[in-house]
Each structure stands twice: as structure tokens, then as C-alpha cells.
Symmetry: C2
Subunit: 684 residues, 2 copies
């Protein structure tokens, strides 16, 4: 990659591991011609050259005795190899096989995809092994993704700004135009493909005036150029659309999905898009949410709203990603009967079975909005007849905005492993969104991007791990957090055991640390409104956003029980509903999400709520200090630039953690009047 | 005025009052030639034509037997009239005399200024009498301003936005340019001159990049065009400057006021300005305040900083308006020793005597920032050897943003009448800033404008009264609130007694009403950060702005006493210091500004603090409802457009008052646990 930005985990640092077996790397037998196949060959060549210091020859046929063979499983040459078992195991068109037999004499590595796209993924897999200095002598790998759709959503605007972006400006847009220089988009595509991402939407789900026109003749040639770049890396391009487009750019007087003129307009529009982008992915739609237009305006429900678009896209194989982030954002804080947490389920669950098969409901991991801790959305598993996809936020809107270290893979793992009990025990979220539980046609994972044009892509260098981890989990949710973490560290910082150990510990601790000094026990929010950074306990308490903690001088928490509260717990399947409903079984970490309790309530840990607040907040700062200490042990083992960048963020994190600690502790001390039992400093 | 915007109080509505004495109005003897004189004649002609329905003849000499005579007091023609006593009484060059003898036969009205500017003011005075249908038969008026400088500050940016503007965009700037069509600026000048304003700064005190160049060759021709317009109405143009201009546009490496190159640069710059604008007023400077550059950067004090500019301006008669709004805006809320209220006094008082005589210290009315209720700044009267000017905010930043009705003349009157005891009893603020107490060379009043390009100029039609009232008070602080109020109503809405009675009551009640449902007992703030609209009790509580209320479960308020608090009270002269220091004598309305007390503390009214909070907040909403009821009584008596505009704002005000009531009451109920003794609805 150009020197003005970092290669992230595609560093291809020279290594000596394979110096005794160089022969196999000197020849690449390339049995394909497509652009994707070309990208795979090119990546392999670059990787080998960079890591092993030799220039492999690319040849069209097996002639040498030692080589890396690259092609698809149905290639005649390959059919002579005994790969039948592997071939049979591969169902998914994106899967691949890597088989090797490397020794001093005749050495061969077969990298074979089900399709050319599988070849590309296989190459990245193979290069990962090389970067990690894995033994490649006797490989026998059969690999395919668990999720069909592995997507990144960008919230980029054409003025170059990124909604909830913390790493600079957009890599796609600047000053109301597409960027001219597109090398960085290509390198971004490489990064995404290397972890198996196969879909991307490039513009903000809040589609403003200018971006509404991306689907119009005016901008499609430019959109197509970006699609062309991603296509080569197996990534389909989607666009976020404005539901009111027929009015705003179509000159119609309505956007009613049942209006024939509106339907016609979308059909024409979709047909036009496919003329420019024959493999266009489809639309991402935020409708009837936070002041965005949608079918409600016309008395239509979300199924009617989504299906109309689905019908326009169906003939071309396109799909509709319909976001379920729909709630009343003009709530009155005085109204205790409305519960924002219930909104998505209430809106969508009754519509199960009414959506077309090329509609996917895109559901945020929790019922609120990407808080550091939320229960899993009860919508997962509750719609057997409707495609569902899990949306997580890679960008750290509520989790420290890439100033604080907060590695989210552990959080996502918890979500994926959460048992919904939709079909009894063993109905984990990962099976719902993997499609296996209900046989969904489309499903998978979507992540909101955390990258921008900062030289390190993600603001905080260590936040690259979240992008990496998202891709890996989207490919295979069964991967362990530890596996993903060490993969990323070794590729990004090398395999020095101390480096791996310290960074790994930093990453693995970081989510809990961030949680410890911010809003306690699952209650969420307590941030400054608007930008969402920094502590503000009452920041949303009297707002119209439906996000409250109800702290008074006696206690805190939101009663969402059926018995005495909003009844939200009833949206879960009985096992979970019972667990959350009861104070005895509700997990401590979500206590205040589900219950309003006195400050003197004792947690399962034995601490009172108020003492827990004090303890975690004092402790959180100490742990933030530990992060820095761990990092400082790596001085000299990491290049100065990245070392200093990360160190500066960690120093900032400590300061901001102190601010969090003191605001939260003072707020609750002022309110409860209860002193810290250890007599630590709480400002009056 | 053009029909796209309102004439405000210069309506000149036709009236019958003078139909039996029309002769005197048929001839204007005009004894002057200057542009200002011309503007006076023109205004008089328009006013008479519009109100009396006749076209007066303008003649150069007395020939007819009945006429209105217009000229200066030293005119030979006038010297023959027995005006010696009046002439002697007039000291101020902006003063004037109006003498009349109107009856059926020979009728004469002499409108005579000390200068042509006095003539202009006299004409506006005379027209006011006509608009108010006053008897003009036997006038004998000698009038002159009490304040030398009567100034408006605009916080307009060249992109057209207005910092803290609530009435549309700038009338001066749009899209980074000066507006092309300048008629509205002329009509604005007429409005200002009609109430005696004689100075204006047109750009924001926060001087951004583009506006920094207003003093450069590039923009001066455009600035001069605006100055030309204002000059004709006796208004001198000032510019807000960026203290770092020598660096930002001068190419120097420093803006140190003691650096000879910097001094030289400012001298050249000032000389250039005067080439374009020979009567340029001078500079308004916000330095070392809220991230603005200033002399502190170079280890210089404010006297050194201001004097350098003063020296450059002195040869041309220009002055420096140096703002005293200087405080640490990066305070740590955990630090209880720093008190923002003390900052201005601490920074400036020790420098008394060190400022050049063409420097004026511009001091906000209170020590914080234009809250609905603050004590008067202790800086007034504390610097006998330094020119001082009182700054008030006409634009309603913290007082309802022209959505709420809040007539500020009563507040300003309280400030002006406040006795500083600087030279013993009778040392009111009005005497300090009028210059009489210490013989200041320059002094007066500055108001931050509340106008924009809205058709009604001020967003809320009734907010025009604040602009009017500011001008009248700046001219003569001894005018009573009632006098100013009825003048404005009659000129703006006519003299129907019910109209006068109801609007008058609305205006006079409005400040107290707004106070009643917002932050209690002088503690201030409790608004949403940034835009400052709407309730947010803890909005600034944990911020770096130095604005706290310290509410806990037991009590509230800021201890600013010498005995146990920050010691702020000591900045006042002994009589006031003692009054504020003691709980017994501190006025209720400022209690929480000076003292931290339990919620159960009894006010002088007999109510507890908590019950006072509940009472005023419930009552405030009822009173807001009364405002609307009063207005509705005027249906049919006021043109539909203005009636509806105001009605809609009053409806909005009630809703927002309810929001204030409920947030404040709930906040304090949750914190104190004390119920309302009347059992009214407080949300949990």
C-alpha cells in the first residue's frame, strides 16, 4: 500500500520461516481469467514477494514439479487430484480447499475455490498462514463461510463527513463529489476481501439531499466506478436510499408504496441502476426512523413498504436490507408507558411472513442503540418466515469513539452465542442469522464501518482489530475471540510472544474496562447528547429519545418487567423472559436495564448497587492505567510511530476515564448521599 | 419600508388628530445641506405625508406664516427667536430643541439641533409625538442624550449566520459576501437612529477567518459602503477584530502588542481603514476569551493589549471597545476554588489607570453571561480612572430566544438603577456608565442586536420592543419602563386603550414569568449546552464552563461568601458586599447565586426553597397561559398577520414552559424527595 496510509493486517512482513522450502513458492500455476481470479493471483504474488523475497513466476499450466496451483475445483487438472471428499463438503459457492504436500523434492500447494471468488478468499487464507508463519507442509483445509451476507455499511456523506465517524473523512466522497484518486478504495477492498466481506453500502443510511441522487442518471457513472473496484474483490455494492426519492428526485407527489406510479418509478430506477452496475446488490433502507420518510406517511406498514422495492429489485437478483431501527423518537419523558426497547419487535414481529423473499430485516444487536451493554434484541428468532441479518456497530459511537480502546469482538461473540430458545435450547443468534435455524434465503451480519481517511484508517490503531474481527466473525461466528485476536495481532504487530500476550490482554480486557467506568449495570446512555462522547448522566434523561435511567434519591433503573413495568420481558421466548423478569435470575450486568432497584439492593456479587458503581468506577480508571502500562512494556518492540500513536490515545483514555469516574460517582453520591465504603475521593 | 418586511415602530399610520391644524405641516423650512440633515428632512416629509395625508413643501427660508422650521441652533434665522435658555441648556452636540406655537393663524414649529445630527434626532422625536397623537401646540422641549455612546453590536458572520441570532440570517452578509441589495440596511439605520443609536459594529466578536480580512484592502471598499449608509443616520461604524490579525493576515510571526512590528502593522492597518472610512468608529475586541487570541499569549496584560490598538486609533479619533468577558473556560468542575463570577474583576480592576483614554472597557451587566437573573457586575464603579460601558444582550440567548416573550427593559432598568456605592450612596450604574460619576471621556451602553432578515426583524414581533427599549434607555436611562413601553406599543400597534393596556401588561410581566419557570433564585444556567435553549438542569453541571448549581439531595446553590465560599461578595463595595454576604439580607431572587442552602431553607417570602421552586414553576405556566389569553382579547384589533404570528409564539411558549416546569420539578423532586405541599402533578 502507498506509504501515506497503513497496510493494517496486510503487511506481508518478510519472514524466514519458509527459507528451506522456497521452491514451491517460485511458481504459481494460474488457472483462471476473471478479474477476481486476477486479483487473487496478484495478491498472492505480492504477498510471496514481500514475505519471502522472491518473485514467483505465473504460468498457465502445471509443468514444474513444485508450484502453487490456483484454480477452481471443477478444473480438469485438479480433478485428477484426490480431492473428492473436500469437493463434496463444499456447498457454498464462496468456499475453498487448500491442500498441500511440501517437502524437499516435489512440493505442491493446491489452492482451489468453488468459484473464482473462493480462490480469492483461499489466497487470503493462505497468505494469513504465511504471515502467521504457520506450517504449510501438510495442509488440508476445507473452508466456507457460515453467513451468506457479510456486509459493511458506511454512513458516509458526499460532503466527505461521516456520521459517527472517528477516523477522518470519507474515503469515497469529498466536497460533494466522489474522490478522484481511487487507489485507497482498492486497498480498502483488499482489506475487506481478506476477511471475507462480500457486500458494502457506501452512503449514509440517513440519505440527505445530494445523496438521494446517487440512484439517478447524474451520479450512476460515478457509483459504477466504485462498484467496479469492489467487484474485483468479490464485494457487491449497495446504496442507501431515501424512501421519498419518487418525490424528491422523481417529481411525483407521493412515495406511497401502493401507488402504481411510485412502483413504476422505482422499477425504472432500478433498471437504470442495473444498466450501470449489472451485479448491483440492492438497497439499504432506513425508513420511518428518526425523521426519515417511510411507508407510515401513507398508512402502509413496513412489509408493504419493503415489498414494493423488493419487487423492483427481484428481476435483477437485488435485495432490500430493511432496517428495524424504528421507534418513536418524539417520546415524552413524562410518559412511562412507552418503552423504546419494545418498538422494533412491536413493529415487525406481527409482519412475519408478509415480506418478500428478497427482503432482509436488518436488526441491531440490542433493542436500543449500540450501547456498551444491552440485552440481545428479542426480534432474533421471533420471525421464522422472514430473513434476518444482525447489525453491529464497528465504529465506536457509544464505546469510546476510537479514543478509548474497546475491542468489540467479545461483545459480538456474546450476542452470537446468545440462545434465543426460538426452537428450544440451542437456538443461538448465530444460527438464526446464519440461516440454518429457519432456512433463510438471505441472512448474515452487517457492521457499520469504523474507517476513514486517517493514515491508520481507524483513528485508534488498535481499533483496526474491530474491523478485522467483524469480518472474521461474519465469516465464521464459531471462531473464538482468542483465535481472532491473535491472528490480528500477529499479522499487524508480529509474533513476538510478549507483544502477542500484552496486546491480546489489552484487547480482551478493554470492553469490560470501558463498561466499568461508564453507565453502570446495563442502564446505558449517560452520554452527552448529539455527539455521544463523554459522561452526562442526565444527558438524555428528559429528552424525547426514549432513553432514561430514572435515577432518584432512592434508586435507579428501568422496570421492564411484565409484573410492574413496561412488559418488555414478554417479548423474549419463555426461558429468557423468565430469566429477565425475576430479580433473582436477571444477570447483574443487565440489572438496571430490566429493573428499578434501590441503591442498597445487593447484587449477586454481594455488593450493593451504589457500592458497585463506586467500585467499578474507581477500578475502571486503574484498569485504564494498566492498559497503558502494558503498552509501555512494548516500547522498542513496535515501530515508533504506531507505538506513540497508541500511547497517546491510552493517555487520553485515562484522563477521560477519570472524568467519567468522577462525574458518575459525584452524581450518585449527590443523589444517594451514600458514602463510598472505602473512603475514596468522591467530589461533593 | 418595502412590504417584504415590517416597518416596526416607524409605521406612520394615518391619523386625524391634527386635521384642524394642517397649515403648519404644509411647509418645511429646511436650513441645512449635509447628508444627515437631508435624511432628517426626508424622514419628516415621509412621516407627515403618511400620517397626515398631505405633501409638505420644502423651502429654504421662512416666507410663509406657518411652517416647520428645521435647522441648527446657531442658524441666524433662529437666533432671532427667544431660545436662549434652551440654547444654554444644550451641552451635548447631539441635543436639540423643539419649540412650537400652533394655532389657527400663524403656526410655527421650530425643530433645532445643536448639530445636524441633533436635527435628525429631533425630527424622530417630533414624529414620535405625531405617531402618539400628542398635542404639538405648545411644545418646549430640550433634549439631549445621557450617554455619549449608544451602540449596537452585531454577532453576524459573513456566511450569513448570526451567533445567537433568532430572527433569520444577517442583513449585512450572505454566502461570504456583503449583501448586494442594501435598502434594508438603510431602513435598519432609520430604526436605530429613531431611538438614538449612534454606533454599530457589524461583525461577530468571535472573528473567524474570513471576517478577519474585513480590515484588509480586499474588503474595505465593501465595509465603506455600509459605513456610508449608517453615516447618513448619524451612526458610526465599528469592526470586531481578530487580535491575531498580524499573524493571520499580516504575515507576521507574532501578535505581541509590545512588538514594534506588530504596532507598526496595526498603525498601517488603521490608517488604511480611515482612508476608506474617515469617521470610522474603532474596534470591538474579544481577546483572551473563550479560545480567542489575545495579549495573554505573549505574557502581556489587557492594558498593554488594548493600548497598542488605542495608539493606532488615537490620531484618527477612533476608540477601542475592549470586552471584559474574560474567564477560564477550561475550568475543572471538581475545582471549587475557582469562581468564574470573579474573573472579570480579578483581571481588570487592578489595571485601573493603565488604559489609554480612548479605550473603553465593555462590561456585561452581570458577572456570568446574560442570565435571566444575575447580580450586577462588581466591576461597575470599581475603576474610576477607566472608561466603562455597559453591555446588555438584546438578543434573547438565555431568555427564550424570541420564542418566549421576555421584555428586557425592566431587567436593564434594575441594572441601571443598581447603586454601586462606588462614591457612596447614589452611585448608580447609570451614573457610572453615563460618565458623570467619574468624568469618563467615553462611556454609555452597548446592546447585542436581536435582529435578522426575518420579515418582522426580531422573530417574535413583540421582541421589537427590546430593540426599541434598548435605544431609548441608552439615550436616557432615567426614562421609566412604563413610558418606554407605551411609546413602543402606540407606535407599533396604535393607541386603542385595550391594546395598550393588554400588551403593556404582557410586556411588563414577561421577564418575571420567564424567570419563574426557568432556573430558580438566581442560580442560572440549567439549559441545554451549546444552543442554550430548553431545560437541562445538569446541562452545565459537570462542564468546563464554570457554571454550576451544586444541587445534591440536601440543597442547592453556590456559596460565594467570604466566610465560607469563593469570596466573590468581597468584590462589591462594602454596603453591597454585606448585603450579599448575609443570608438575612441577600435578596431572595439572588439567593442561590450567593449561597448554598438546604431545600428546606425559608425564603423571606416564608416559603421553603423547594416549595418556591414548585410554586414558581406551576405558576409560571399559568402565567404563560395568561399571556396568551390577554393576546386573544386583541383579536380583530391587530392586523391578522401580526396577531397570528404572536399567537403562535405564545402557544409555543406555553408548551415549552410546561417542559421547563416538569423537568425542573421532577429533577428536584427526584433529588429532594420532598412532595409539593399542594399535591400538584410532579412526574416521578
Amino acid at each position: 500500500m502507498p506509504t501515506e496510509y497503513e497496510p493494517c493486517w496486510l503487511r506481508y512482513v518478510q519472514n524466514d520461516k519458509y527459507k528451506d522450502n522456497q521452491l514451491v513458492f517460485t511458481t504459481i500455476v494460474a488457472k483462471g481469467e476473471s478479474p477476481i481470479f486476477g486479483a487473487a493471483v496478484e495478491e498472492l504474488r505480492i504477498g510471496i514477494t514481500s514475505m519471502l523475497g522472491l518473485e514467483p513466476q505465473v504460468v498457465p499450466e502445471m509443468k514444474q514439479t513444485s508450484f502453487i496451483w490456483l484454480g477452481t475445483l471443477d478444473d480438469e487438472e485438479l480433478k485428477q487430484q484426490s480431492l473428492d471428499r473436500e469437493r463434496a463438503a463444499l456447498i457454498h459457492p464462496e468456499g475453498y480447499v487448500i491442500r498441500s504436500d511440501v517437502h524437499d523434492g516435489q512440493s505442491r500447494i493446491y489452492i482451489a475455490g468453488k468459484t473464482d471468488k473462493g480462490v480469492l478468499y483461499a489466497v487470503f487464507h493462505f497468505l494469513r498462514l504465511l504471515q502467521m508463519k504457520k506450517n504449510v507442509h501438510n495442509l488440508s483445509i476445507v473452508e466456507q463461510p457460515k453467513n451468506k451476507l457479510r456486509m459493511i455499511n458506511h454512513w458516509d456523506n458526499m460532503d466527505g463527513s461521516i456520521e459517527r465517524g472517528y477516523a477522518g473523512q470519507s474515503v469515497f466522497f469529498a466536497d460533494g463529489q466522489f474522490v478522484k484518486q481511487k487507489q485507497r478504495i482498492k486497498d480498502y477492498a483488499r482489506l475487506l476481501a481478506s476477511v471475507g466481506i462480500n457486500a458494502i453500502s457506501i452512503n449514509n443510511v440517513n440519505v440527505h439531499q445530494l445523496e438521494t441522487k446517487l440512484i439517478a442518471e447524474e451520479w450512476l457513472p460515478e457509483v459504477a466506478k466504485v462498484a467496479d473496484i469492489f467487484r474485483v474483490y468479490g464485494i457487491k455494492l449497495f446504496l442507501s436510499i431515501n424512501y421519498a426519492s419518487p418525490i424528491e428526485i422523481g417529481g411525483l407527489s407521493t412515495a406511497d408504496p401502493l401507488d402504481p406510479n411510485v412502483q413504476q418509478w422505482w422499477k425504472k430506477t432500478v433498471a437504470r441502476i442495473y444498466r450501470y452496475i449489472p451485479d448491483f446488490g440492492g438497497f439499504v433502507v432506513k425508513a420511518d426512523s428518526e425523521f426519515r420518510p417511510g411507508p407510515f406517511t401513507y398508512g402502509r406498514n413496513h412489509a408493504e413498504g419493503a415489498n414494493m422495492l423488493a419487487e423492483a429489485l427481484a428481476p435483477f437478483g437485488g435485495i432490500v436490507m430493511w432496517r428495524c431501527f424504528v421507534y418513536n423518537c418524539q417520546q415524552d419523558w413524562r410518559d412511562r408507558t412507552t418503552d423504546r426497547a419494545k418498538a422494533a419487535y412491536d413493529h415487525f414481529q406481527p409482519l412475519d411472513g408478509q415480506f418478500h423473499e428478497n427482503v432482509i430485516l436488518q436488526i441491531k444487536n440490542g433493542p436500543m442503540d449500540f450501547q456498551v451493554r444491552e440485552p440481545v434484541s428479542p426480534l432474533f428468532g421471533a420471525m421464522p418466515k422472514t430473513n434476518q441479518i444482525l447489525e453491529v456497530q464497528i465504529t465506536q459511537e457509544y464505546t469510546g469513539q476510537q479514543k478509548h480502546l474497546c475491542y468489540l469482538v467479545p461483545q459480538w461473540k456474546e450476542v452470537l452465542e446468545f440462545d434465543t430458545y426460538a426452537k428450544g435450547k440451542g437456538s443461538e443468534v448465530k444460527k438464526v442469522i446464519g440461516g440454518s435455524l429457519f432456512g433463510y434465503r438471505y441472512s448474515g451480519m452487517v457492521g457499520v464501518s469504523n474507517i476513514g481517511d486517517d493514515p491508520n484508517w481507524t483513528g485508534h490503531t488498535l481499533a483496526q482489530a474491530n474491523l478485522y474481527g467483524f469480518g472474521r466473525l461474519a465469516w465464521n461466528p464459531d471462531l473464538s475471540t482468542e483465535e481472532i485476536t491473535s491472528e490480528w495481532i500477529v499479522q499487524t504487530f508480529g509474533d513476538d510472544p510478549q507483544v502477542v500476550e500484552q496486546i491480546s490482554q489489552m484487547l480482551l480486557d478493554s470492553w469490560r474496562i470501558y463498561e466499568s467506568y461508564t453507565a453502570p449495570l446495563g442502564v446505558g446512555w449517560m452520554v452527552n447528547p448529539g455527539h455521544h462522547y463523554g459522561p452526562n448522566v442526565d444527558g438524555y434523561e428528559y429528552s424525547h429519545w426514549g432513553t432514561y435511567h430514572y435515577a432518584d434519591r432512592d434508586g435507579i433503573g428501568v422496570d421492564r418487567t411484565v409484573a410492574t413495568g413496561t412488559g418488555y420481558t414478554a417479548q423474549y421466548f419463555p426461558e429468557n423472559a423468565a430469566m429477565y423478569e425475576s430479580l433473582d435470575t436477571c444477570p447483574d450486568e443487565l440489572l438496571l436495564f430490566f429493573h428499578h432497584v434501590p441503591y442498597t439492593h445487593r447484587l449477586k456479587s454481594g455488593e450493593t448497587v451504589i457500592q458497585h458503581i463506586y467500585n467499578t468506577h474507581f477500578d475502571g480508571v486503574e484498569q485504564a492505567r494498566r492498559l497503558k502500562e502494558r503498552w509501555e512494556q512494548l516500547k522498542g518492540k513496535i515501530d515508533e510511530k504506531r507505538y506513540t500513536d497508541v500511547l497517546n490515545r491510552l493517555i487520553l483514555q485515562i484522563e477521560h476515564a477519570k472524568e467519567w469516574r468522577d462525574v458518575i460517582n459525584t452524581y450518585f453520591y449527590r443523589k444517594s448521599g451514600i458514602a463510598d465504603q472505602y473512603g475514596r475521593k468522591i467530589y461533593r
